[in-house]
């Protein structure tokens, strides 16, 4: 902190210069957008004490986070609600330290993934590796020829997802349902993009095997 000098400064496009009396502006930022405030503006407002901005973040990202949580915890709505709530509480407490190295969306989804893993560790054991997964026989609760109904198909997928290791399930859901890029998934789950591709390949293969009976 400089002492004894009244200063102010301006910084554009990453270049900072501290001025005392004169400032000439020769640059301008992006075009105006008439849409809702972007995420970084909402984050800024939350940091400046505007709670309603956090409500807007919940409304914007909550549905996707809840859908992701629901599938990560085996379809239990109470558990999914708890996971999302804990994720948002964590986001609220840590938003001042969120440094935008990732997007707000990937950060929020990473919180959901971690909370879902925590919850599952507490509640029930899950396979931790593909080797373990291979010994679990695909469940065939219904006769697929007689019960090809949409809800059951989704239920079958949910059951198949529940058998996947946590990370494989998360990668598959983020890619196939949330349609995130490989890079964003890697950021969300703290993996490399190559690992994401590997997990996705295995997840697709495992799910395809388990869903094959519905052909």
């Amino acid at each position: 902190m400089r002492r004894g000098v009244a200063t102010w400064s301006f910084r554009v496009a990453g270049r900072a210069s501290r001025l005392h009396d004169v400032c000439v502006l020769d640059d301008a930022a992006d075009d105006v957008s008439d849409t809702a405030p972007p995420d970084h503006v909402l984050v800024r407002r939350v940091r400046l004490g505007e709670r309603s901005a956090f409500d807007a973040i919940i409304e914007r990202h909550g549905p996707g986070m809840y859908r992701f949580a629901l599938r990560m915890v085996g379809g239990d709505r109470t558990d999914a609600g708890e996971v999302v709530q804990e994720a948002f509480i964590s986001a609220w407490k840590n938003i001042t330290t969120f440094e935008a190295r990732s997007t707000l969306r990937t950060w929020l989804f990473s919180l959901v993934s971690r909370r879902a893993a925590d919850l599952q560790r507490k509640r029930r054991p899950t396979p931790v590796s593909d080797d373990l997964l291979t010994v679990i026989a695909p469940a065939a609760r219904h006769d697929p020829l007689q019960e090809v109904m949409d809800k059951e198909l989704v239920a079958a997928l949910q059951a198949a997802l529940a058998e996947l290791p946590h990370q494989q399930r998360a990668v598959w859901l983020l890619r196939e349902v949330e349609q995130m890029s490989y890079d964003d998934i890697a950021t969300t789950l703290v993996m490399t993009p190559d690992s994401v591709r590997g997990q996705l390949h295995r997840g697709r293969k495992n799910l395809a095997e388990r869903m094959a009976q519905w052909r």
């Binding site: 004894g4 105006v32 409304e59 198909l153 989704v154 196939e176």
Partner: protein, 159 residues
């Protein structure tokens, strides 16, 4: 829920999952918002001063403190105008005193940045005086720094 009939059951189920409405989200969202509203963000408390510059009031020398949670929104409200928006407000606290305030601004393209900087500093100083009182050690000219971190076309509050 209508699942498109493709030959691949995984693809059909995936499409259904993607298109599925978030059943139960409305209830969850209300619960989440209510819960978050009960949370208190950690913030430093800042001692206030009376007109003579003393932080101790009354015979017992009671001390009144104001949380940074209270000060920050007040500063933001004072600084924000249609032509500028606070980007960040950092309040430095040393020995429970507000030792400095660093204000980052986003300004509308074309405005006089010198004038905006001076005006914003004055707005911050006025809030500090009003809320924290007469802290003789706090020099607004020295201890309030203003930095314009971006200039934007259009509404600086929306970008």
């Amino acid at each position: 829920m209508a699942v498109e009939r493709t030959t691949d059951p995984l693809e059909r189920a995936t499409t259904a999952l993607r298109d599925e409405p978030e059943a139960g989200w409305v209830e969850v969202s209300q619960s989440v918002m209510s819960r978050v509203r009960t949370l208190v963000t950690p913030a430093s408390a800042v001692v206030t001063f009376d007109a003579t510059g003393s932080s101790q009031r009354g015979e017992r020398g009671s001390v009144v403190r104001v949380s940074g949670r209270v000060l920050t929104p007040l500063l933001r409200a004072a600084v924000d105008t249609p032509d500028r928006a606070a980007d960040s407000i950092d309040i430095e606290v040393a020995d429970e005193r507000c030792s400095s305030i660093h204000l980052s601004l986003v300004c509308r393209y074309g405005v006089d940045l010198n004038a905006e900087g001076r005006d914003a500093r004055a707005a911050v100083a006025a809030v500090v005086r009003e809320v924290l009182g007469a802290d003789l050690a706090f020099d607004a000219e020295r201890d309030i720094t203003v930095e314009v971190v971006d200039v934007v076309e259009g509404d600086p509050h929306a970008q």
